[in-house]
Amino acid sequence: MELEVIEKDKYNLNLIIRGISLEMINAIRRIILSWVPAMAIDEVIILKNDSPLYDEILAHRIGLIPLKTDLETYRLPADCECGGFGCPSCQVSLTCEVVNDSKNNLIIYSGDLKTNDPNIVPVNPNIPIVKIGSGSSLIFEAYATLGRSRTHIKWQPVSNIFFRYLPNITFESEKCNNCPDKCIVSRMCPEKLYDFSDEKIPILQKDYWKSCTLCNACEKNCPEKAIKVEGENDNYLFFIESDGVLPFNTILKKAFEIFYAIIDEFIEKLEQVEVKE
């Protein structure tokens, strides 16, 4: 297996993975998406709400705020010693108390949440929660827990994760008989991967593989069938987009950890099975 990083920053990780099976890469995607835990507010106790939004809507909005996650210190409530009742090792309390004594409307942001664990804070302090009028106030307590996105989307550790085939476009120049009109193929490509410098022969950009989606628009539209688009087997482009809840390494490490744990458990169970002679 070969791994090549195309891009890596705080929010994006783009990789080329060569020599991995489709089942495997999809399994990684699915594990990250639905098994890797993340922190999110699960319970909101609203003490005062003068805002035009109802408590339910407010709670829903607060729940969707992405929180920085610490997988070392916290455990899933189900795995916690307290049995899910809420203890310092599975729960973080956040509070918000805003009284608008100005004359204008006031927008309450995620940054207004006060936390008792400085590691568990909203990823972005500029997420608007609600706008309240003059003289209104909003007071609530919130409890964040770890959870998995299978239960609710708010516990999703990434904002997007997907892959696609590494494309391979072959151009048989002997088949191309230089159509009398402009080459239609270069115009039909939605990603504009063909250069227009020579209008008779389509010239493919060098780094076309970065954006080609295998839409086959070029192949379908070439009257001489001179172009062939294929996805390379077992070679993929892999993309993870994050909102900053967890660093990429942690996400991937955790994913494999879970993967191994599942396999270990499977083997363990298998060994327990008595095979009849």
């Binding site: 890469i25 999809n26 995607r29 998406l33 339910e56 969707l64 696609r164 939605p190 989606t213």
Partner: protein, 1075 residues
């Protein structure tokens, strides 16, 4: 107005005045009210009407009239239309409206009666005072007929002339039984000779030849060379029908009276008008004859020139007229009563204001209008903003729903631009309930006399001078009435039109020329549907760049264009003379007008549809019906409003693909739907039959969430005898006391639930006790007082929620009124109904985890997956184009424009899509989320605006094991609201019979239904009774001593036996031992 009273006294009526909307409180104080207060407190938004009255005493001897002081007397209340000229909201700015608790975008135009918003729906009617000639139905004895609905101040008198198979013409009109020969009637009206009759009918010799039998019939009343005598005879002929067995003198007087009052009342009711009436009858006869001789086509009843629309004003006029006459009658009666008692008449006490108030209030509250019309006033639709607007622009045809009336239901070409071609209900009301098109404006009437004089100034020769005129004669009609003739019609018509454009006569005066019958029809009456058009001069509209700039700066507006004659209103009649270019580039020299926008032919609801011209037409009709069910932001003041039920969508969005009327209609500010990302593919078969598969993650992120509201109310009523209701937690011992547990949510203080309390079905919201229903005459010193009843307000069964608002206020009668709004969160669930804007509805079939959802090669996961089978047979290409346009909008950041008929080259849209970086057909390469495999085919994946419709599963889900039964039959109740059972019907029964499962059948139909045990006397076979006191069974017929047996049967059967006994039958059961 003068009212003749008891001898020596009369009252003169002066001006009538309407004040501001006010309420008279129980303590006698009068206060101005705002609409929101009226809505919350269940008041009527109505103003006082005062009438100037002057009592006049007449001296008995000198007959001298002595007027007393004029008094302004309050005669009743009249509901005020919101934002009308009498409504204080009319000129308020946006901020002022918000301060008063109103939605600044609320259109007004409705009334508030007892706290409910009511619309007076526009009524479509056949035009009055217009002669319509048509072929008679085959079943009648006539061949052709001309009919006119002569209407004068609310009185409607149809007059018909029929041409019989023998060539005779007969007239029928109200209050005269049977049909009168035309010639006799014309003689009676004062035409002196046969020649005059001929001339009154037609100058055409061919027609005159056919008139001989018509004249012949009159010979029986004719007296040679004595026209006076002939007239007397003719009158007597009529008199014999209306006053049988009276003296001849009286008969003639009666006949004259009938002619004046009931024949063509719109022409007049005085002596001078009789001759005019005979000419009018002549016109009618001419039309019949021309039709009979195929000189003209039959009139088209469904032509929109022959229709008039009655708006709230017209409806109120007829209602007020009746109410006012009732009041006058009542005043008369009251005054007579005081006079009989010998007291001095006092108008203040004689006027009972309730007469008018109650009559109007009742008509508006029930919708039963004068003239037996029902459903005139309707509860305003508040599902969403578009629904409200559409309701206010609705037009109802009074034709009966049960008869087919195919022609009346059809879309008529003359409805172009006036009535929406798409928006009409399906089913029995199809084509009878219509909606006004966007640009349609109803004409306001102007004074006929002024117009008539202008016509004479412009060279119209009055009818009575026509005789001596030679040359071409073009008949000129004003509002269907012949006023004269003109000889140079061309210049005359042009001059009238120019006068209108210059603003010298009203903007709603229309003129139509009929070349075939040489008629000019001028209309200045109210209720014609007109539409604005750009006037063309020298192949150019008068709008230029200057104007465009000025509009942008807001310096000039619509009315300036009307005043300058750049835009004019045409009604259906004048439109027949116009040649209208659809687009600027189509203009040819023959064109007279230019369409402002072809999209304006659509109504409010149809304007929401993107690319409607690319859809199959019924789909647009379905969608026009469905937008009214879409959840959205129905009013910005929803927090203050206390509607009995309502929904709000949490995150309503403006569509990515808009139409230009949307902005005008206000849909963008009060939207009803969200932009969903759709993929069109099959997925595990869970979207067959129009089901929709939804991404669970999208729901969890808040897609299509809504709230449902229901308001419960209770009043502390006062009863005669000083008894009152009381809001409290009922004490133990009160009749119907539930259990202390049920009242736990209520406040100790006032017995009312607190806001933000979670409530479930059946929970008590307001605790209340009422006095006992029948107060028995109990002794004063008796210790036991009869118990009070428990009349608490409970939550509905099957509903839950959170108490949202509690409002305590006071009704007009001074009773304490409590209103409680309960809200319930509605997260989309399996079975909820959704629809795109193209009549493509479907229910939620599956919720899929995000990890299982297919994703595109750029990682986009759709919100919903719809089935491609929805497309081929329904041909809603508009939906595909909407998606493409939406995709472009997503990538360019500019909203897509999908106004009807604006895209002349739709392939350009696909080019734009490629430009924006997508495949031209909107498809994406997608991967299966479960296996990770790439799909072979490209999948159409675009953003499309979806609506959540109010048919939610939470409101429909129902099942029961045990529950209430009906008192009479003891069978389970019916319907969800009553926690009813699900019927095990005939066909289900047949099924069990077929299987031979007798015991199951018995269990379903007897044991689980209304099983009872009855006692039967074995001797006589009649029902026996059980005496509990003596613990004895006996037969009331055979008395004691006979064998009484128990019989198991259905309670309904027991009822049948008893019912038969009540008819005097003796149903005897012959009992046998069960083997």
């Amino acid at each position: 107005m003068i009212l003749q009273e008891i001898p020596g006294f009369k009252i003169k009526f002066g001006k009538i005045l309407v004040g501001k909307p006010k309420v008279r409180e129980a303590d006698g104080a009068t206060m101005e009210i705002t609409p929101i207060e009226a809505r919350i407190r269940e008041l009527s938004y109505a103003a006082d009407i005062t009438l100037e009255m002057t009592p006049i005493t007449i001296d008995e001897r000198t007959q001298r009239e002595e007027p007393e002081e004029t008094l302004d007397i309050y005669i009743g209340k009249i509901p005020i239309m919101l934002k009308s000229c009498r409504c204080p909201l009319e000129h308020l700015s946006e901020q002022e409206l918000i301060n008063r608790g109103e939605d600044p975008l609320d259109p007004g135009g409705y009334f508030i009666i007892n706290g409910t918003e009511r619309v007076l729906v526009t009524q479509e009617d056949l035009a009055p005072n217009r002669i319509l000639a048509e072929e008679a139905s085959r079943s009648s004895s006539a061949t052709h007929q001309a009919k006119v609905f002569s209407t004068r101040s609310g009185f409607r008198a149809p007059v018909t002339i029929e041409r019989k198979k023998d060539g005779n013409l007969r007239v029928s009109f109200p209050s005269v039984p049977g049909k009168i020969p035309l010639a006799i009637l014309m003689r009676a009206l004062g035409l002196h000779s046969d020649r005059e009759i001929f001339e009154a009918i037609s100058e055409n010799e061919e027609i005159q030849k056919e008139l001989i039998p018509v004249i012949d019939v009159a010979s029986e009343i004719q007296v040679v060379k004595d026209s006076k005598k002939s007239q007397q005879n003719a009158l007597d002929y009529i008199g014999k029908r209306v006053a049988i067995g009276q003296t001849k003198d009286y008969r003639i007087r009666r006949a004259l009276q009938v002619l004046d009052r009931y024949l063509l009342p719109h022409i007049g009711n005085s002596e001078e008008d009789r001759i005019k009436k005979s000419y009018y009858l002549g016109q009618m006869a001419q039309k019949v004859m021309e039709l009979a001789l195929i000189l003209r086509e039959p009139d088209d009843k469904d032509h929109y020139a022959n229709k008039r629309l009655k708006l709230a004003g017209d409806l109120f006029t007829s209602l007020f007229r009746v109410a006012f006459l009732n009041l006058v009658k009542d005043i008369k009666y009251q005054l007579e009563r005081t006079a009989v008692r010998g007291r001095a008449p006092n108008i203040k006490t004689a006027v009972r204001a309730d007469v008018i108030t109650e009559r109007i209030r009742h008509a508006l509250a029930t919708g039963n209008w004068v003239g037996g019309k029902a459903g005139v006033s309707q509860l305003l639709n508040r599902t969403n903003h578009v629904g409200t607007l559409s309701h206010l622009r609705r037009v109802i045809s009074p034709l009966s729903r049960s008869q087919p009336h195919f022609e009346a239901r059809d879309l008529h070409p003359t409805q172009w631009g006036k009535i929406c071609p798409a928006e009409t209900p399906e089913g029995p009301n199809c084509g009878l309930v219509k909606n006004l098109a966007l640009s349609s404006i109803i004409s306001i009437g102007s004074d006929t006399r002024i117009i008539e004089n202008i016509l004479f100034d412009l060279g119209v020769i009055p009818i009575n001078e026509v005789k001596n005129v030679k040359g071409e004669k073009i008949k000129v009609f004003l509002n269907g009435k012949l006023v004269g003739i003109h000889q140079k019609y061309d210049a005359f018509i042009r001059e009238i039109r120019e006068k209108r454009r210059r603003g010298e006569i009203g903007q709603y005066i229309n003129i139509g020329y009929y070349r075939d019958s040489k008629e000019i029809q001028i209309n200045c009456d109210a209720g014609r549907a007109t539409r604005p058009l750009l006037l063309l001069r020298n192949m150019k509209s008068q709008i230029n760049v200057d104007y465009v700039e000025k509009i942008k700066q807001g310096k000039i507006g619509w009315s300036d264009f009307i005043d300058k004659g750049i835009i004019e209103y045409l009604d259906a009649e004048e439109e027949e003379n116009a040649y209208i270019a659809m687009f600027e580039e189509d203009i040819k020299p023959e064109h007279t007008h230019l369409e402002i926008s072809p999209a304006a032919i659509l109504g409010i609801c149809a304007s929401i549809i993107p690319f409607p011209e690319h859809n199959q037409s019924p789909r647009n009709t379905y969608e026009a019906g469905m937008v009214k069910q879409a959840l959205g932001l129905f009013a910005a003041n929803m927090h203050l409003r206390l509607d009995t039920r309502g929904h709000t969508l949490h995150y309503p969005q403006q569509p990515l693909v808009i139409t230009s009327p949307m902005e005008i209609v206000g849909f963008n500010k009060r939207p009803a739907g969200q932009n969903f990302l759709i993929a069109m593919m099959s997925f595990e078969g869970f979207n067959i039959e129009d089901a929709i598969i939804i991404n669970k993650a999208s729901i969890e992120r808040g897609l299509a969430r809504s709230h449902f509201f229901r308001t419960y109310d209770a009043e502390e009523r006062k009863y005669p005898g000083g008894e009152v209701d009381k809001f409290e937690i009922p004490e133990r011992g009160v009749r119907g006391f539930k259990s202390a547990e049920s009242y736990r949510l209520l406040s100790e203080e006032d017995g009312i639930i607190e806001p933000e309390t979670k409530v479930n079905g059946g929970d008590v919201l307001i605790g209340r006790t009422s006095p006992p229903r029948f107060i028995k005459s109990y002794e004063e010193f008796e210790l036991m007082q009869p118990n009070r009843r428990e009349t608490s307000k409970n939550m509905r069964h099957n509903e839950k929620g959170i108490v949202d608002t509690v409002i305590i206020s006071e009704t007009v009668d001074g009773n304490k009124l409590v209103k409680i709004k309960v809200r319930d969160l509605r997260v989309p669930e399996l079975g909820d109904k959704f629809s795109s804007r193209h009549g493509q509805k479907g229910v939620l079939g599956l919720m899929v985890d995000e990890a299982d959802m297919p994703f595109t090669s750029s990682g986009v996961i759709p919100d919903i997956i719809i089935n491609p089978h929805a497309m081929p047979s329904r041909m809603t290409l508009g939906q595909l184009f909407e998606g493409i346009s939406g995709k472009i909008a997503c990538n360019t950041g500019k909203l897509g424009d999908a106004t009807a008929f604006e895209w002349k080259n739709i392939t350009k849209l696909q080019e734009n899509l490629v430009e924006a970086g997508f495949e031209f057909n909107g498809r994406e390469t997608m991967y299966n989320g479960i296996t990770g495999r790439k799909y072979e085919a490209g999948i159409y994946c675009t953003p499309i605006y979806y609506q959540k419709l109010y048919h939610l599963v939470a409101d429909k889900l129902h099942a029961r094991a045990r529950g209430p039964v009906q008192i009479l039959t003891r069978q389970p109740t019916e319907g969800r609201a009553r926690e009813g059972g699900l019927r095990f019907g005939e066909m289900e029964r047949d099924c069990l019979v077929g299987h031979g499962s007798a015991l199951l059948l018995k269990e379903r139909l007897l044991d689980e239904s209304d099983k009872t045990i009855i006692l039967v006397c074995e001797k006589c076979g009649l029902l026996a009774v059980y005496d509990r006191n003596r613990d004895k069974r006996y037969c009331p017929v055979c008395s004691e001593g006979t064998t009484i047996s128990k019989v198991i049967c259905s309670y309904a059967f027991k009822l049948l036996l008893q019912e038969m006994m009540s008819l005097g039958l003796a149903p005897r059961l012959k009992l046998k031992e069960k083997i």
